[in-house]
Point group: C2
Chain length 195, copies 2
Amino acid sequence: MAETDLRQRMTFLAEIDGLKTVARQSKIADGSRRENSAEHSWHLAMFAVVLGDLAEGVDVPRVIEMLLLHDIVEIDAGDTPIHAMSDSAAQEAAEQAGARRIFGMLPNPDRQRLMALWHEFEEAESSDARFAKALDRMQPLLLNTLNGGGTWAENGVTEEQVYARYGPVIRRGSEPLWTYARGLVRQHFQTLDAG
Amino acid sequence: MAETDLRQRMTFLAEIDGLKTVARQSKIADGSRRENSAEHSWHLAMFAVVLGDLAEGVDVPRVIEMLLLHDIVEIDAGDTPIHAMSDSAAQEAAEQAGARRIFGMLPNPDRQRLMALWHEFEEAESSDARFAKALDRMQPLLLNTLNGGGTWAENGVTEEQVYARYGPVIRRGSEPLWTYARGLVRQHFQTLDAG
């Protein structure tokens, strides 16, 4: 391995530190502040560690790697909140350019390997990507139920809208995960109605 | 899988959200604020993704999992700064109790598996644990060189002390990683001397 090669990898590792400054809409569980995309990615990877058997035919270490890098493009493109109207073509172009710039800092074979994993996540067709997408939807759902409604309360999102916006993606990755999540959502809105 | 089992796993995933509020001494690369242990764990896992070939005989997915969970005990025990004098017996006891409480929230086999991985990291004997420890030392070293000296500048740590405090752990995990790191440290202190 050439020294240049190692220097390129360190430059990449220094660059992705920027993900710690990308703010998401979701608040952390105690509600004290918004989550950043780096700690969100860590949390998601831990979801894969402990929920990996909820989807059949999934390569858990591969899903973990996909989740670790799935948001790195946000360093250039920013986060896209689920409950916001956004220009999806412009966002998509910014993310593609971000992927080329940031993964492009790595030497091969990692450059191609990480870029391919990110594309696979975005396409959401393989079992691994469908499960990764399901966890990426499940984690903010869990946070919202923990911190009193979070982005649902802030955006006036109804119970029916939660089912519509989270259900298809979670079910597509894992049916038992959605069964559980739906119960959490029902309980959350029941408590609100009773309050 | 019983529903209780899934509820226990979700309770664990909610509990470990607390790692996002554990502050470390190191600042993030842009120097704007201290790093938290959750985003640190994400960054470390990415170090393993792109530096995994720097150590022979290492199971990279296993190292990634070890790094994802290595700091979870800090939710109860707090972070131990490398340049501080601390009561290591009391810290060790607090971490052991934290591991029993937090990993103990999981059903088996994950409870035993994650607890064993954490112990293996702490013991720092296996190749996987030695490499994980090396990355855990390498990441703050890289951050300090990026943000103008960071914890070295704050604590009046000399170049020789850096070699003594980081060198043995990094070398023990990967000789080529230490060769590179030593060059970074040398360059950092040369620039300071010239400034």
